[in-house]
Amino acid sequence: MKIRRLFVLFGVMIFAASLSFGYSAALMITGEVGGNPIYEMMVSGAEAAASETGLRLKVVEGGYNPAKWEPNLLSLAATGKYDLIVTFTEGMPRSVEKIAKMFPKQKFALLDGIVYHKLPNVYSIGFKDEEMCYLAGYFAGLVTRSNMPYANSDLKIGLLAGDIYPAMMDRMKPAYENGAKAVDPNIKVVFSSAGTWADPNKGKELAQAQFEEGVDIILTIAGGTGVGAIQKATEMHKYIIGVDSNTIHFAPGAILACTLKHADLAIKNVLVRAYKGKLPFGTWERWGIKEGVIDFTFNDPNYIKFVPEAIREKMLTVFNDLKDGKINPLLKK
């Protein structure tokens, strides 16, 4: 009995504490952070925002089962404890919309997915993943056609995906192909999917199969699975393009470049603005190169060292064209 009363007391104290101090935000991760680099970036970005502003942060890992995400979001909203609830991915707009309507006083932010209905308590940002992939495709095209030491005569480039999902099939893979075909229409893209984001050995094996098919450069969008491909590239003297964060230093010379998605900066930006009361709820945005979220490793010393200047220059041009909106990455030529 006594112990129970103690627990209740504890709970009330914590609850009271959460009401009394400043701004608080909850991150509902649609997945688990374990084995998932993009969420690691998100969490570290959010933590940076927290330490900068002093807002209190709560991270909830929603698990791998997509069906459980909405109930988790609902539970968080129902507590009323948080000033802002942040969640992720293109699978969530409907859930956010539904729950935002149920809790009109609760503020929501959705990253990497867009709620097109304008709800006064929801702000959302989508990322222009297609720009990221177009850049990668263009770069891969340039490399495979070049006479760089590990490039072969086959006009084949690879894409290694962790899994198949709508954004991958509808935007990322086509943009990658379009980018490559902008270099040379004869370039063929070899696509593999591991069916898992956390099996580096599978990634290694799939990369090997691609390399043996004449592919000389692979874009890996496969989380932990993709890391396995790097080793194979080093071993077989082939090239890799990384995504999301700069991983060139892991294998300089094999990882030629990375297309960056500054998800950490984006979430930090969102949280800081929210903290300051400046987040424009009721709107949505799509961020890409222009907004500084999508980037390329132009300044990496190893990039400069291993990639011929001609290619680097062409990349810069394309980068700026994308930034200025001169290229539609999803438009097939």
Partner: protein, 295 residues
């Protein structure tokens, strides 16, 4: 081309084969080891972490085996001494290893994501002098890492131990007919316990083979290989060479499936089913040919 394929297949087979050899010991003792997956995972993390920290491959491997064997011993203790259901305990082992490795990753490496251990010593591929220069066979026989070679050597050792030593006789007797074993003074408990410990050792080696050559750990990176090993155990019917062939069938069909991903535009998801379908067909064909009726 063919030699490449064989080479790849053998490399892919290694972790499964090692874990399956372990599972075979528990199978021979008359127990089902569902926990192979967890044991592999635990050792995959520990071995690369310790190897990285100590810069010693050997210490790393030993540390990995220590943890997987401990898990196996716990499993044995619960199922043999406390008479807990061996299946539930196996599931517990898998859950525990899955949770523990991520938890340790956070505590020790401050990261939940992909753990790269770039400073770990490299488990390099061994080129056998002269052999490597033989045109076709060179590629098949040479250029594997120490774990790949040891998997093959261990298969042979297991065969000798199981069919040509008193321990092997006793183990098989315990599995086939425990009452007879007891009647000639062979301890069923001891042999089953030891079989679990051995399965932990082998599954641990299988886990090492997943993380050490890559210098990477990702939570859940075993990705069902422990289960496949269990399939190989059952198909191998208590014979190490049978287990080897079963693992090989799976490895080869996986390599084939990967090749088709690179060669064709068929949906990767459909191609990923190939190893399972081929294994099922192989199993059925074997059953039909051996003409055993269900008793």
């Amino acid at each position: 081309m063919i030699s490449n394929f064989i080479h790849t297949t053998l490399v892919m087979t290694t972790p499964i084969l090692l874990a399956a050899l372990g599972g075979m010991f528990t199978d021979l003792s008359g127990m089902l080891n569902i926990g192979l997956e967890g044991m592999m995972l635990a050792s995959a993390f520990t071995s690369i972490f310790v190897a990285n920290a100590t810069s010693s491959l050997l210490i790393g491997i030993l540390a990995g085996l220590c943890l997987s064997t401990t898990l196996a011993a716990i499993m044995a203790y619960f199922s043999l001494s406390l008479r807990a259901n061996v299946f539930v305990v196996g599931l517990a082992t898998n859950l525990f290893a899955n949770g523990l490795t991520v938890f340790l990753g956070v505590s020790l490496c401050k990261s939940k994501g992909t753990l790269l251990f770039l400073n770990a010593p490299k488990l390099s591929n061994i080129q056998i002098p002269f052999v490597k220069d033989i045109p076709f066979l060179g590629k098949i026989l040479s250029g594997y890492n120490a774990l790949d070679y040891s998997a093959i050597i261990l298969t042979i050792i297991c065969y000798l131990v199981i069919f040509h030593t008193p321990y092997g006789y006793h183990l098989r007797a315990v599995g086939k007919d425990p009452r007879t074993a007891i009647s000639v003074g062979i301890s069923v408990y001891k042999h089953r316990f030891l079989a679990f410990v051995l399965s932990g050792l082998f599954a641990g080696l299988g886990g090492v083979a997943l993380s050490l050559p890559l210098k990477i750990f990702v939570g859940g990176m075993t990705n069902g290989r422990g289960w496949i090993a269990l399939v190989a155990v059952v198909l191998g019917q208590g014979n190490p060479f049978g287990v080897f062939i079963a693992s090989l069938i799976f490895g080869a069909s996986s390599a084939f499936s990967n090749m088709l991903q690179a060669l064709t535009d068929i949906s990767p998801k459909l191609l990923l089913t190939i190893p399972f379908v081929i294994t099922l067909i192989a199993m059925t064909v074997y059953a039909i040919r051996s003409k055993k009726t269900y008793e």
